[in-house]
């Protein structure tokens, strides 16, 4: 068997691998591996010094064992030793082991760095390559610190070998990504750009990766790369395939490099210089022409490589979005692929066409392929391809073809895979709303949707249909008639019952003239579904009944009987019971006038972003949703105002969908309290509370009830801001503050003595927040201890939008106070001030430290000075759950040390606080006493102030 091994085969290794392969069972394999591990361990520990060859062999065995899925916890030192060997194979195994197995915070990094330094200085290109690979693979901060200034020099030095340049470029790329602050930008940038001119295509390939990444960050510094990339590209594209013989892959000249250059050009707008621009257009045309030529080889590799370049060129054309002829040609090319026999190409063509559909130049061209795409939807055997077809139909939809597309999607929905049904439902709902010319079609579509895929119709969809019906008088009668008819089906989906209940409750009177849909018939129809529905739907139906009492006094007695029945009045569910009691009482006490006021028709909803679209975006993830391009052209085609269009401009949508059925800017009908004794505590001021959020708009003010409510809510929020400070002691993310206007979310990261905090301000209203400003202030004492720098935020936050602010924090020395975040803005004319304590605490700058029991007690004794210890005994505020406590201690920032304390119930932790001036080691011990429900917390650190502060912070948590 060892014969397979090439070169200086390691016989022991080959035997071992053969043994493993011959193992009959998993158990036998594990046994063999354990035996080998024990053997290697004893060899490493043995007195006899191992020679390089044996070390290499054993390290190689460890690598193989690791590959089989076993954790390797030793051998690192031997691998590091191999680095200093003079033999390439030994050195290489050492580096390989380190790249694969050493993570970036290992304590061996310093030794590794030394070896790397030697190899870099060796001027032996193969050794230099190994060292550079290693930096690129591990890429830790310490390595960056050691080599960040060295590598650019190697990269641009005139005498560096080509292969070393390639490695250096990729290495620099890694360092730039992991520790950008350490890589100095300097005169080397200009010379890196010139690597695109290098005669060695391998160097160009590596350099173009580096430049693309850098150009995404600092486009201005690398602008000159555009002309070089175009020149290089045109040389590749126009070359006969023999010119670049080494880099020609199945008759395609340097396909990977072409793709990279095209990618690089996508970082920039089309070149302004006319000559350059002409040259680029020429390149793109050549690539498109080549696609039409007969293939030079029948091999799939040839067409794949050719098409890889072609698709990248098309993305560039789409990105530039400026040459109508190119766009249309690209579209035609993709159209050919739509019917290609290879699934991959059909898939990619559908995907690219989605983006083409949003360009005004090619939208019409894309539309010509509608039949093919619809056909794909019906015949493709691969669900992912069908999914792309749905996406494309959605993207190419406009007013002219909306009816056809929606109909096709609906018919596809009947057989669609379960995994994509919900998404299709959302898309149909959006298209139907957006391109509805007459709203009867819209209502029909949505009801069909519920009929076909009721389970996949989310709340947002049926909320939205109700919003629209309520806001448009012309469709209300039709809607009532249609839902009435739909409800007559023997089995209908619960969502339909919801829509039916709501719409008949509001507009049942519009169809009551017909004897076939008289009030009693309507009521009986609804009530026949009642018992099959879930509790929330039943509650909604009860609200519909009370509305019926107002609309049709003749059915009052029947409804009162229903409300009075035991199954309602004594229902086990409190919500139903309460509604039954209150509605019954209301119908008995209130006069017709009052009933009419209380139960008047719902006011129109304010026009706002469609929650369905928000949901679709959320589902697809940012950036994945093909933007329908209507915002660009709606001036031409759209006459009427449509709710979903406004939002196209706001990319960020507010995450919460709560406010969808809440008419915020209108006073609600409020009952006078004298006639509704039972309603005092309840939400039944409005019968349809189940779909409403009760957060009151302050402007209403008409109702006493609501005023009381809004006051409590403000109180609650100020309390929360104090409380939330403590919630953030052991965690870094969450909601910092919330009231009815604004939600402040927080995400923070800390590393050593530096921290960065992302603050998200979400506007919960539908109106703009103006003159928005936020600043961070610290007390004078705190300023010296903590540097806080905040970036400015936009002064305007659109309704429902969210903006982000970044705050950089540097801990100079230990501190106790916390900075304050002051926010000021104007909302509907009133100036609002909010002040919140920013949760920056000392423990955020912890770095956990693992140590053994022996070390821990040794250090514990060293910190024996009574001033260094702080102890606190306190009663447990929360249930004394062991796992919870563990996670809190870890969240606090220290390492939780197992098996240190002799008493198993106690928790022991250790960590180091990093400040700019010093580092403070810290040990803690928490002893719970379950019987007494008490804790004893002891902290020992080298500074008394630190001990005290940490003890105070942590004691709050249990």
């Amino acid at each position: 068997m060892p014969a397979v091994s090439k070169g200086d085969g390691m016989r022991g290794l080959a035997v071992f691998i053969s043994d493993i392969r011959n193992c009959k069972s998993k158990e036998a394999e594990i046994k063999r591996i354990n035996k080998e591990l024990a053997n290697i361990r004893s060899k490493f520990k043995g007195d006899k010094a191992l020679d390089g060859y044996s070390k290499k062999k054993y390290v190689c065995k460890l690598l193989f064992i690791f590959l089989l899925g076993h954790d390797i916890d030793f051998g690192h030192m031997e691998a590091v030793n191999l680095l200093s060997s003079n033999k390439y194979t030994e050195k290489q195994i050492g580096y390989l082991f380190i790249s694969v197995l050493v993570n970036s915070n290992s304590d061996l990094i310093r030794l590794i760095n030394n070896a790397i330094k030697n190899d870099l200085a060796s001027r032996n290109p193969t050794f230099m390559n190994l060292a550079l690979h290693c930096i690129a693979n591990v890429g830790s901060r310490e390595m960056a610190e050691a080599f960040a200034s060295e590598i650019p020099r190697i990269l641009v030095a005139g005498d560096t070998m080509d292969s070393v340049k390639q490695s250096a470029a990729l290495c620099l790329l890694r360092l730039n990504r992991s520790s950008p602050d350490l890589v100095p930008m300097g005169d080397w940038t200009a010379r890196v750009v010139h690597l695109l001119n290098d005669q060695h295509l391998g160097v160009v390939t590596a350099a173009s990766s580096l430049i693309t990444t850098l150009a995404q960050k600092q486009p201005d510094d690398f602008k000159t790369s555009v002309s070089l990339a175009v020149t290089r590209l045109s040389r590749i594209v126009s070359s006969a395939s023999i010119d670049l013989q080494d880099y020609t892959y199945y008759f395609v000249a340097a396909p990977w490099l072409s793709v990279k250059l095209l990618r690089l050009l996508q970082c920039y707008p089309p070149p302004e210089d006319a000559a350059l621009r002409g040259r680029l257009t020429e390149c793109l045309e050549t690539i498109l022409n080549k696609a039409q030529e007969p293939p030079k080889s029948k091999k799939v590799q040839h067409s794949n490589a050719k098409n890889a370049v072609l698709f990248e060129a098309i993305s560039l054309i789409i990105h530039q979005d400026s040459e109508p002829t190119l766009l249309v040609r690209a579209c035609n090319q993709l159209g050919q692929f739509l019917q290609h026999r290879e699934t991959n190409l059909r898939y990619l063509a559908l995907e690219s066409m989605c983006t083409l559909a949003s360009s005004e130049f090619s939208h019409e061209a894309v539309k010509t392929h509608i039949e093919t795409v619809i056909n794909a939807l019906k015949t493709e055997r691969d669900v992912s391809v069908r999914q792309r077809a749905v996406d494309l139909l959605y993207a190419m939809c406009d007013r002219s073809n909306a009816k056809q597309i929606v109909a096709e999607m609906l018919s596809y929905l009947e057989t669609a895979d379960y995994s994509i049904r919900e998404e299709i439902v959302l898309k149909v709902a959006i298209l139907a709303e957006k391109y509805a010319v007459d709203y009867t079609w819209y209502v029909d579509t949505i009801l069909n949707l519920i009929r076909i895929a009721g389970d996949y119709v989310s709340e947002e969809v049926w909320y939205r249909v109700i919003q629209i019906v309520i806001n448009r008088d012309d469709v209300q009668g039709y809607a009532a008639k249609t839902v009435f008819e739909a409800l007559q089906a023997p089995a209908c989906h619960e969502n339909l019952v919801k829509v039916g209940g709501y719409i008949l409750g509001e507009f049942g009177n519009l169809i009551a003239g017909d004897s076939r849909s008289s009030p009693l018939v309507q009521f009986n129809l609804l009530h026949s579904k009642f018992h099959l529905c879930s509790v929330p739907t039943r509650a909604l139906l009860l609200s519909a009944y009370i509305k019926f009492i107002n609309l049709f006094p003749e059915v009052k007695a029947t409804i009162q009987d229903v409300l009075r029945s035991d199954s309602q009045l004594r229902n086990a569910d409190v919500e139903i019971q309460q509604r039954a009691v209150e509605y019954l009482r209301l119908s008995c006490v209130a006069s017709t006038d009052i009933l009419a006021t209380v139960l008047e028709e719902m006011p129109p909803f304010p026009e706002r972003e469609s929650s369905i679209l928000a949901k679709l975006k959320k589902k697809k993830g940012p950036g994945n949703l093909p933007e329908t391009n209507d915002s660009r052209r709606n001036g031409k085609v759209n006459g009427s105002t449509e709710p979903s269009e406004k939002m196209e401009s706001s990319n960020q949508c507010f995450p919460s969908l709560f406010a969808d059925l809440l008419p915020t800017n209108r006073p609600r009908p409020a009952p006078s309290s004298s006639i509704m004794p039972s309603a005092g505590t309840v939400v039944s001021t409005h019968p349809f509370t189940d779909v409403l959020n009760l957060n009151p708009a302050p402007s209403t003010g008409a109702s006493l009830l609501i005023d009381v409510f809004s006051e409590t809510s403000i109180e609650a929020s100020t309390e929360m801001s104090e409380d939330s400070f403590h919630r953030f002691i052991c965690k870094n993310n969450g909601v910092l503050y919330e009231n009815h206007l604004l939600q402040i979310g927080l995400r923070s990261e800390y590393r050593q003595n530096l921290g960065r905090m992302y603050i998200f301000y979400g506007n919960k209203t539908s109106a703009q927040l103006l003159n928005f400003s936020s600043s961070v202030t610290s007390s004078d004492a705190l300023k010296a201890q903590l540097n806080v720098q905040s970036k400015a935020v936009d002064p305007v936050i659109e309704g429902g939008a969210q903006v982000q602010q970044i705050i950089n924090i540097e801990c100079v020395s230990d501190f106790t106070d916390a900075p304050a975040l002051n926010i000021q803005f104007r909302c509907s004319g009133t100036l609002q001030n909010i002040s919140v304590k920013l949760p920056v605490m000392l423990n955020k700058f912890f770095q956990p430290t693992e140590m053994t029991s022996q070390d821990f007690f040794q250090r514990w004794k060293q910190l024996g000075d009574p001033r260094q210890e702080v102890q606190k005994i306190f009663k447990a505020k929360h249930p004394m759950d062991k796992d919870l406590t563990k996670s809190k201690i870890v969240g606090f920032g220290v390492a939780l040390l197992d098996a240190v304390d002799p008493n198993n119930e106690n928790f022991v932790g250790a960590g180091i606080i990093h400040t700019k001036n010093t580092q403070v080691g810290c040990l803690l011990r928490l002893e719970p006493n379950i019987q007494a429900q008490m804790y004893r917390l002891t902290l020992r650190t080298s500074r008394d102030t630190v001990s005290q502060r940490l003890c105070d912070l942590l004691a709050e948590q249990f």
Binding site: V4, L68, H133, L170, D246
Partner: protein, 178 residues
Amino acid sequence: MIKFVLMVNRQGQTRLSRYYQPVELNRRATLEADVVRCCLSRKKEQVPEVNTTCGLYTLEPRSATVLCLPTVFVCGVQRLQTGLPSVRGPVHCGRCDRLRASITCHVSQNELSIYELVHNFVEVLDKYFSRVSELDIMFNLDRVHIILDEMIQNGHIVETNKSRILAPLTALDKMTSS
């Protein structure tokens, strides 16, 4: 960029793995098992959405999709040129292909070019080992790593020219034989 390179045999055992984005050691096994399941369980026409993030990308949810790019890679006698694999996952080859390579990359990458990169990698291995087999990979792990390092570094393509890729190894072999 490319997230990791993985080669497995038909039984789903890992024969080579290289990560270009840190993944905790204990999560690698599950991740690899997930990818293998995606690749091996697929029938030719039925392509499950390979959108299961495989537990890898919890750090940046939804920004990346796992994409399995297979290659039909035959042990021993001959290479199969059966059906054309879909980009999104490998073709199920009924016969004796014993090892597959898969590369997982950012979804924004040019899929076809990555696909061909895998093919190129296999061709280089073929050239060096003259028709590579699973055993070649197992017994010459270090050399396969050298080849891979010459082609892909840090998740980016560095070299695509076969003879340049093999240059260090050829030099090495010359050194040991003399």
